[in-house]
Symmetry: C3
Subunit: 262 residues, 3 copies
């Protein structure tokens, strides 16, 4: 695992332009900032070109999409392609809401993305494979997670992160799984949103998307695991506070000491 990317990210402080959802936007901004990236959130299409030019990468999150925001997503995605800035797509709730699935698929034909990051239900929906989603949560399905992630990656010609207790990362051919983490991530609203934006931050500093995706998953999952190991009870809000702290403080050797991926 190329944890040198973490050192590089902190040295380079890349700007991530987030089309964010308004529920978790503050935690995502704080998490990016703590890690060593520089978050920008912008909602106005008139400044889209400048924002894309300034940014090292773009993260498009469908969490609280509106028709107005979808138009911004189209413009920003195309501009990002034009300026060769990598795009990460977070297809929130496409497994549960047909309207969102239609929008996500339309966006995926409008511009190229480097990485799609979703839970099992979301990735399965984009791959048109069977999975039972519940609301915005992943749901419980019986599909084979690796097959689902590969199918999605091959269909959209990008890297896919199917995140959950184990994160499955694939470029359509190669597969790596990150086994680190803690159940507290499920108690913290916006863990997935934060992961997507952290992935974007790493895409800004390396073009090896498959490696970037692994590094991002590992850094966040291991940080959460390290925090959880110090908590004496399942305190979701304390976990959030200490997770953001840890993103600032965590060292490469600390992560290597708990790293569990294959």
């Amino acid at each position: 695992m190329e944890l040198r990317l973490l050192t590089a990210l902190r040295a380079q402080n890349p700007i991530v332009f987030n089309i964010a959802n308004f529920v978790t936007v503050q935690d995502v901004a704080n998490g990016l900032n703590a890690l060593g990236a520089s978050p920008i959130m912008s909602a106005e299409v008139q400044e889209a070109e400048t924002m894309v030019q300034i940014a090292g990468a773009v993260c498009i999150n469908l969490g609280t999409l509106t028709e107005l925001q979808i138009e911004q997503m189209r413009v920003v995605g195309r501009l990002a392609n034009q300026y060769h800035k990598p795009v990460v797509l977070d297809p929130v709730a496409v497994g549960a809401v047909p309207y969102r699935k239609r929008i996500a698929q339309e966006l995926l034909t409008t511009f190229d993305v480097a990485v799609i990051r979703g839970n099992a239900g979301e990735i399965a929906a984009l791959a048109d494979m069977d999975w039972q989603a519940k609301g915005i949560d992943a749901g419980t399905g019986t599909g084979d997670l690796i097959s689902i992630a590969k199918a999605c990656a091959n269909r959209y010609h990008c890297c896919v992160i199917l995140s959950g207790p184990t994160d499955v990362i694939t470029d359509g051919t190669r597969v790596v799984q990150v086994h680190n983490g803690t159940p507290l991530f499920q108690l913290h609203v916006g863990s997935g949103d934060l992961l997507s934006s952290i992935v974007a931050a790493f895409t800004a500093i390396s073009s090896d998307t498959f490696e970037v995706a692994q590094t991002a998953c590992l850094v966040l999952a291991a940080s959460g695991e390290l925090v959880a190991s110090q908590l004496t009870a399942d305190r979701p809000a304390t976990f959030t506070v200490e997770l953001v702290d840890k993103l600032s403080l965590v060292t490469v050797p600390e992560i290597e000491a708990v790293e569990s991926l294959n």
Copy 2:
């Protein structure tokens, strides 16, 4: 008090669709999640029908209403009635802003609500009774809180929670007061928003609205009281973190041990 509803909520993990205000939305989502419910926030009317179908209940919060959002509220409220999903209305600042009072009253003629949750100034305004509101805060008035709450409940044919240091809960005839709580709730922006969404979560699992309202008030007020009893100073942000933690950890016996209602 039927605290078995708390156990049932945690077992059933109901989805609450919130038309939220953007100030406190993250705390509300985290609080619902910690308690054992599943929050959805959506802003796009095109997905309103799916969201209502997915959800067990709807919470409509006027906190940062816009003309666009009001149209969404109308659609969602009508759909919720059609699909028999209970609606909780949080009429933020209707006591201070005539425009908001007009909107709230129009919404209350557009669809039926199960519960209105507001502070004294807000409930008095909806009941067209006298009270002095200050900004978005409750203000200090001399009206009789029980009379105000009953008048509001009878006018809109719903359960009313007039929350404050003592929560007054009425279906227009019966009245229960929850005396638990802590002054720290006043220092925490969004205590009322969180209560309204927690009420909605309980309405998703029981049709006894009067009991639901009591349980929701008691669970939140007792959790806050338990947290405050451990704090050595009035730390509003620490209180918020520990309140969300407590919503995850609090047990029925813990609540019963401090329960003060009549």
Copy 3:
């Protein structure tokens, strides 16, 4: 330094109407509330006049501006002038985004502001002076901060706070610098937004804008410094929680004991 203004603010609990950015709005609301002010966030122009009438001051933050919000800013700014409510402008990212600079300058011709609060890159941009901004951050420039702040103040006939490790405060003639603070403010997204809204809170209780600006900078910077001095590591999220706590608890003698300004 007139720290009696802090005592007065807590006694008077002024209402601050914020046209906020949606990234940091919750922290800003909590910070204002903890300090002893009463935050209102509103997004609908139909209620603008009531909100301005209710409020003691207005803070306009360009952080996540949209065309719709800019129209609200114009209306609110004019109403604030009409009702003699002081306006604080936070020109987020005008140093990096030409569109934002154009909007900010147009707003500054549309209504009078009492205080502009920005970082070096933002204030330099408004003054049309040379500075290197990076994204939404201040950037590193070689301009003389005092000259830049004075030029901006003279151009827009208002008080200017150029905030950073040292805050430079000027009315165009007089200059005071606040040296308190901690590098943790840079790790906390929204420190500047919070400062701007705290400035607005103080403008609501005193017409001596130059003194108000100093007091606001000192209260926030000293509170942060006091919190940081108790932390054993750079924990950005813990810092945020404890900063908001401190805004509630900090006393005049505590601030006087660390006060460093000239």
